[in-house]
Symmetry: C2
Subunit: 327 residues, 2 copies
């Protein structure tokens, strides 16, 4: 089978590639070929016996999507997006990449479907940013989508397109609303949500981290390992069981920053906790106030999607996957 | 004040034009100019002292929206759309007219906003087709949007764009989810929803009409007079009271076909009811089964939008507005 990953050079894309290589198969079928696409050329994965085609392109340029599906990949993971903060700062770029890029891909598949009946599985990464305040503590699956960012709007629109194109039979689409991925590996970045990861990742390796919000801020998290698990499961699940509502809120851990810190204390001790420096940031506090505190994720759980149960587990996954298993 | 109506040649567009001419003003301001736009040239309204610019164009052609807003109209009514059945039959045309056309208009305003601070009121006609089965008997304002037609998808996407462009300050947008307009004046048409009007309109003038569904089908209606009232009210309402959720389900009458017929009996007698011929149509029955039975419309009611209270009233409005006041 041939797998296309658009957005393969990002953190989740690289981990997804590595997982697929490690598994060697998806569902019942072995993987013969992977086409890895991003705006920077994705690296060739180690240890893959099949064909790898690494492509540097921007799917939001007209005509590019047609080329990417010319070889008719069986499964398409569409992860490419610019993040929330950038989509808010650059309105046109956000709509071009996050909406037009998605629509070009969907339309290229639709036209191919009309030509030769091509009908791939399309796994689309949506986001919990599709909901907007006021929000209940545990957001039900049928909560209405009233995004309060351009990014959330672009994701909500893409979900609507995914459902309509799937209903019309152009492809088999499924949308995955990713929780905030925590602990993100790598160095601290400027994303407003970065601190959720920073205050664990840095102290775990003996470095200081900044906490810009109060400890009672509650948010919704899953590990990078779980995020990849969601994508792989979405690629193989029976879509008849999903029905017409094709985008699913994924399971995760609802925790306050205080609970995060308690988990850090249990796993790495008081010494690690003391490395968290409080530096309240009004702007970040204001942004975070509108974010989702948690989801019921009942449908996804019933469909077999799984995530960590608490922050201790999220930290342990990070130690296993990023720190060689020990502190 | 200068008013632009896109979709001015349609039934609601013509009635809106006539109402604005009759009022001579909108809110506190007198109307000096009206630009009337449609794919067929709109007629000049009778009795208007101001300037009328009737334009035959298609707002889904790139560049047309820029021309339409070049004179910076104060209020824009965007009614242009192809109907549900056509959007389902012609996928590309539906997305072009109902989505791209709307986006071109919104983007033209956004760019003008960036140039000179232009910030018109934009009144957009959405539809109850934004919701999809399974549906409760009375759909609350915060019910999730899971449209089951391409038309409903295009309207739901337009609602998301309207909210985001308004949030960003590019214009003052408000979306109006119109109930099925009943009694539509004119001759029977091929719309699947046509029978709701046909079984009243034709018997009221002594002619036969066909009923393709059973009498227990429940649906959501408002008169053409109410539809125009919604639009005029939306153009003048204080948007601070509306908040970030810019699209509103309008009030209306939830009634079964049997209740419609009982109202006809009360207003026009048994003779009229006998003109309804039962001809069950499996395809129409199947389509109608997924339609909205009714809405709470709590927010719209609190904001001062009003409709008829029952079908007797809907029939009386038709007799007054279309039949000169008597049978």
């Amino acid at each position: 089978m041939h797998i296309l990953i658009i957005g393969a050079a990002g953190m989740v894309g690289r981990k997804l590639t590595a997982r697929l290589v490690a598994n060697g198969s998806l569902g019942e079928q072995s993987i013969d070929k992977m086409t890895l696409v991003d705006v920077v050329k994705p690296e060739h994965p180690d240890g893959f016996a099949g064909i790898v085609d690494a492509v540097e392109t921007d799917v939001s340029l007209p005509g590019e999507a047609e080329k990417l599906i010319a070889a008719r990949p069986d499964v398409i993971f569409h992860l490419a997006a610019i993040v929330s903060g950038e989509a808010e700062l650059d309105f046109e770029k956000g709509y071009r990449i996050n909406l037009d890029g998605t629509r070009y891909l969907f339309d290229a598949i639709r036209l191919a479907n009309g030509q030769d009946g091509y009908k791939p599985r399309v796994v689309f990464t949506s986001s919990i940013a599709v909901v907007g305040a006021p929000l209940p503590l545990s957001i039900p699956d049928d909560f209405h989508l009233t995004p309060l960012t351009s990014y959330g709007t672009q994701k909500a629109i893409s979900e609507l397109l995914l459902a309509d194109y799937s209903r019309r039979g152009f492809f088999d689409g499924i949308g995955i609303r990713l929780p905030t991925v925590c602990i993100r590996p790598g160095r601290p970045n400027k994303a407003a949500s970065g601190f959720f990861s920073n205050i664990l990742r840095e102290p775990l390796i003996g470095q200081e981290a900044v906490l810009p919000v109060s400890e009672d801020v509650r948010h919704w998290h899953a590990s990078p390992r779980s995020a990849v698990g969601f994508l792989v499961h979405a690629a193989t699940i029976d879509l008849d069981r999903v029905g017409s509502r094709r985008s699913l809120s994924m399971p995760g851990v609802s925790a306050t920053v205080g609970e995060e810190i308690e988990a850090l204390r249990r796993v790495a001790g008081e010494k690690a906790v003391r490395l968290i420096r409080r530096e309240p940031d009004e702007m970040i506090m204001k942004m975070v106030a509108g974010w989702a505190p948690g989801f019921e994720a009942k449908r996804a759980t019933e469909l077999g999607f799984t995530a960590e149960k608490n922050f201790d587990e999220i930290i342990r996954v990070h130690i296993e996957d990023e720190l060689g298993g020990t502190l």
